[in-house]
């Protein structure tokens, strides 16, 4: 089974290339237009959604639900087609619907701008300037679509395995080259990728059912599946739907268990070995309770060749198959790194946000973290266990920086959890120190109002202009100090009563 996703710009000959590729490989062809047609039959207002994505407008809750429905339906539809056999899909960003599924061949097609302008002039019957503007507008709309739908840049080259420029290369030759490329073991579906797709398909079908039901369609859900266990997360404001989730999903084929978690946000916890009896577990749960967050676990086992650039071919081949989101064993799955036990414990506490295994490079870890999920915190626990302490520290810091820059959320190591987010001795001392400072300053100002006001009015002895300048500078310097000091007191108090 193989999936090839061709990402095409307007009038860039991507459709032609996809058709030739499908013909040469004897694979069925699925286009974005087919997918849209199916979505419209499902009752999704794709036109309205598309228009709203392309204009700079506020994202209403109802529109967000429509987007969720569209994404879930498209994912489910695409997965169901892939499960029937190999497939060539051409559209905008089909590969982004299959986030977390490894071994896809992701192709981006580019064409000569002059060719595109000429094609636009022919098809639209307009002059060169208008054709150029039209193409610019279409590109802009597609950029917005990718950003609003998936939170990524459509033009980011790292989104694709290969970029084909048909400016010089004949489309037929490009298709032949892709046929050869498609034979590589990197782009064959492994059991691991198949398992990831089954999970994705299950979660997408579950989300579609929730979007169809009259009691649950208005609520926002995050649905994840892992080995047939569905984890459904919803917001406190939608808590009235909690009783309906089990009913709606009860008859979904392939579900072994349904776990519901009410959360306002998510915490992502990446670690190599989980232990529900560990101190880090208690700290993460304490923060999750405080923030009303769901905890999502990722068992990340950095690939053996991840850090060494030189690995022999045999190892390389093995790594190619192993890389990606993995769980090769179909039946009795051993609890690798305590993930399942920890998830069960979290589920008992009503905090489970689902979990998964990721083996391979750091890029696989990043690829597995969906951009659309609103994380508030990423916790990096003990990783790189096979390395020495200095290398472990360095590699953890590098991973921390990488995740922080890509996901734009605070990333902390397990050791930093307490000092950053839990009330400890340092916080108590900080609170006491700033409280004393604030009390003294407020006392001095409020018990000496007359001299303070005389100073502020600038009417004390001396040059009037100089006095005014001194007042302005004093206020300018004093205010941030008092705001920071009292702000620290307020933040510490809120941290203490678990409401920050």
């Amino acid at each position: 089974m193989q999936i090839i996703c061709v990402s095409r710009g307007s009038l860039s000959r991507g459709k032609e290339l996809a058709q030739l590729l499908a013909q040469k490989l004897d694979y069925p062809l699925l286009s974005r237009e087919d997918l849209i047609e199916a979505a419209i039959k499902e009752g999704i207002q794709v036109g309205k959604l598309e228009t709203s994505m392309m204009k700079p407008r506020a994202f209403s809750e109802r529109l967000a639900r429509e987007r969720d429905h569209y994404l879930a339906f498209s994912t489910s539809y695409l997965c169901s087609k892939i499960l029937e056999g190999p497939l060539v899909y051409h559209g905008r960003t089909g590969h982004l619907l299959l986030q977390g599924v490894g071994n896809l061949l992701r192709v981006r097609v580019l064409a000569d701008p002059e060719y595109r302008i000429a094609a636009a002039m022919r098809s639209l019957g307009v002059d060169r300037d208008k054709a150029h503007r039209y193409l610019e507008q279409v590109e802009e709309d597609r950029r917005n679509w990718a950003r609003f739908m998936y939170g990524v840049s459509w033009e980011d080259a790292s989104q694709y395995d290969v970029i084909v420029n048909v400016e010089q290369m004949n489309v037929a030759n490009a298709a032949s080259a892709l046929v050869t490329m498609a034979q590589l073991p990197d782009f064959q579906m492994t059991p691991a990728a198949r398992k990831a797709m089954d999970d994705l398909h299950l979660s997408a079908r579950a989300r579609v059912l929730l979007a169809r039901d009259e009691h649950t369609y208005r609520a926002g859900f995050s649905v994840k599946a892992h080995h047939g266990v569905l984890t459904v997360t919803y917001l406190p404001k939608d808590m009235e739907v909690a009783d309906h989730i089990q009913r709606v999903l009860a008859e979904l084929e392939g579900v072994q268990d349904i776990r519901c978690t009410m959360a306002t946000t998510n915490i992502l916890w990446v670690q190599e070995t989980f232990d529900p009896a560990s101190e880090t577990f208690d700290e993460v749960v304490e923060i999750a309770k405080k923030w009303n967050a769901a905890v999502e676990l990722v068992h990340f086992a950095p690939g053996e060749g991840a850090e060494e650039a030189t690995a022999d071919l045999a190892e390389d081949d093995q790594r190619m198959v192993a890389a990606g989101i993995e769980e090769d064993v179909e039946e009795e799955v051993p609890d690798q790194g305590g993930l399942r036990a920890t998830l069960d414990e979290l589920a008992k506490l009503g905090r489970s946000g689902g979990g998964r295994y990721v083996h391979g490079e750091r890029s696989h870890l990043l690829a597995s973290c969906c951009n659309a999920v609103p994380y508030s915190l990423v916790v990096i626990g003990s990783l790189f266990l096979g390395k020495g302490s200095s290398a472990k520290l360095r590699m953890t810091r590098e991973l921390q920086d990488l995740i922080g820059s890509r996901m734009k959320v605070p990333v902390v190591t397990a050791d930093e959890l307490r000092s950053h987010y839990l009330f400890g001795t340092r916080d108590a001392l900080r609170l006491a120190g700033f409280l004393v400072l604030v009390l003294v300053v407020y006392f001095l100002v409020l018990t000496n109002q007359e001299p303070v006001l005389r100073f502020l009015s600038g009417t004390w002895t001396g040059g009037k202009t100089l006095n005014k300048l001194i007042v302005a500078v004093s206020v300018f310097l004093f205010v941030p100090v008092i705001a920071y000091s009292y702000g620290s007191v307020a933040r510490s108090v809120m941290k203490l009563i678990k409401m920050e």
Binding site: V441, L469, F476, I482, A483, G487, M499
Partner: protein
């Protein structure tokens, strides 16, 4: 009611008045956290109702905003929500806007000295007029959006007529902002900066113009718009504080008392947004702002009489002032109570539901263990 002003600008602050300023800060903070914008629309008229001259209320509030934005923008910056390049472009013209606002306010304050209450009637009238005009527009659009989203099945957000119109205009040069991922005409940027600065300097609510412009006109993501506005507010607040302080219009006591309430209130407000539906947030915000506008309008006849523009018995001043004050506090307090009611209700429901879920999971876990034991046995 014409209060005696110390050093011509500052009110006498006893324990009761101080407590009222703290409550103003608390309500302003809750509303600010709930709405996601500054609470100046409540705090500035609130201080004016306590007898603070409008120009001092604005000066003290913009100084309060300076410190608050400084603390808040650091967090947004850590999360990558600040487009500093855009902030810097907007800062230049916003400073000019603030300068214009400070100049108008101070000139009116000094000029009306012969007639007004403590020399502030003309400035108070001007500030109230701008406040009423701008906030009426904001409140009405918010309520219209809320009404449209509740009645229409295919709601797609607020009207985009202005944004679409501006998008069609070709106004080079255009500047690209990589963090916000937008391209904006320099002229539109300058205009938005000027308007934001002017309103921040006049009534202290620049964010009501800045944030919607960044979202609707520039097409920026909401989180980046809020972060960038806070970054901008830090500079505008600093510049405004310097300018008002140099004129002697900053009452540091009021700024400090506002902090006491606002920095706690903001946490409560933010928590409220997590448990209250979006439509209710819009309705509550719209109604509270509208009531603040009406409350300010009730105080306007006093300024008109003080300027000699209407013939009104001075004994009516007290009724207007008390009416305005009661209406403002009633609006703020009822809005906050509504938010607190939802926060507490949701908190209780959450605990109950969490308990039920934990019990259900416990039961399921026991059943699955029993099943496993039976199977292996």
């Amino acid at each position: 009611m014409e209060s005696v002003l110390l050093y011509e600008h500052f009110i006498t602050l006893d324990l009761f008045v101080a407590a009222q300023v703290v409550v103003l800060g608390l309500i302003g903070g809750i509303l600010s956290g709930f709405i996601g914008s500054g609470g100046a629309f409540f705090m500035t008229p609130g201080m004016m109702n306590l007898g603070v001259p409008g120009v001092v209320a604005v000066g003290s509030n913009i100084t309060h905003k300076f410190g608050k934005a400084m603390v808040g923008s650091r967090k947004h910056s850590e999360l990558g929500n600040v487009d500093k390049r855009m902030g810097l472009y907007l800062i230049v013209t916003s400073f000019i806007g603030i300068q214009i606002a400070v100049w108008i306010n101070s000139t009116l304050f000094e000029g009306a000295d012969a007639h007004g209450s403590g020399g502030s009637a003309a400035a108070d009238l001007y500030i109230s007029a701008v406040f009423i005009c701008i906030l009426s527009l904001v409140a009405i659009s918010m309520l219209r959006d809320a009404q449209r989203s509740s009645s229409s099945a295919d709601n797609t957000g607020p009207s985009m007529r202005i944004a679409n119109f501006l998008a069609r205009l070709r106004l080079p040069p255009y500047i690209s902002f990589p963090i916000a991922d937008v391209r904006v005409s320099l002229w539109i940027l300058m205009l938005v900066g000027l308007a934001t600065g002017y309103l921040a300097g006049t009534i202290g609510v620049g964010g009501f113009v800045g944030v919607p412009c960044m979202i609707y006109v520039f097409g920026m993501p909401t989180a980046v718009a809020a972060g960038t506005e806070l970054y901008l507010a830090m500079f505008m607040g600093g510049w405004g504080a310097l300018n008002y302080a140099i004129q002697g219009f900053v009452d540091i006591r009021l700024t400090m008392l506002l902090y006491l309430g606002s920095l706690i209130g903001i946490y409560i407000g933010v928590y409220g947004t997590k448990v209250v539906k979006e439509i209710l947030i819009r309705i509550v915000t719209g109604v509270v702002i509208l009531l603040c506008v009406v409350s300010r309008a009730v105080a306007v006849p006093v300024y008109l009489r003080q300027l000699g523009w209407v013939d009104m018995d001075p004994k009516w001043d007290v009724y207007c002032n008390v009416g305005s004050k009661v209406m403002l506090f009633a609006a703020g307090i009822s809005g906050c109570l509504l938010i607190l009611y939802h926060v507490l209700k949701s908190y209780r429901r959450r605990l109950r539901l969490q308990h039920r879920l934990v019990e259900a999971r416990g039961g399921a876990s026991e059943r699955s263990h029993e099943y496993a034991a039976t199977s292996t046995g």
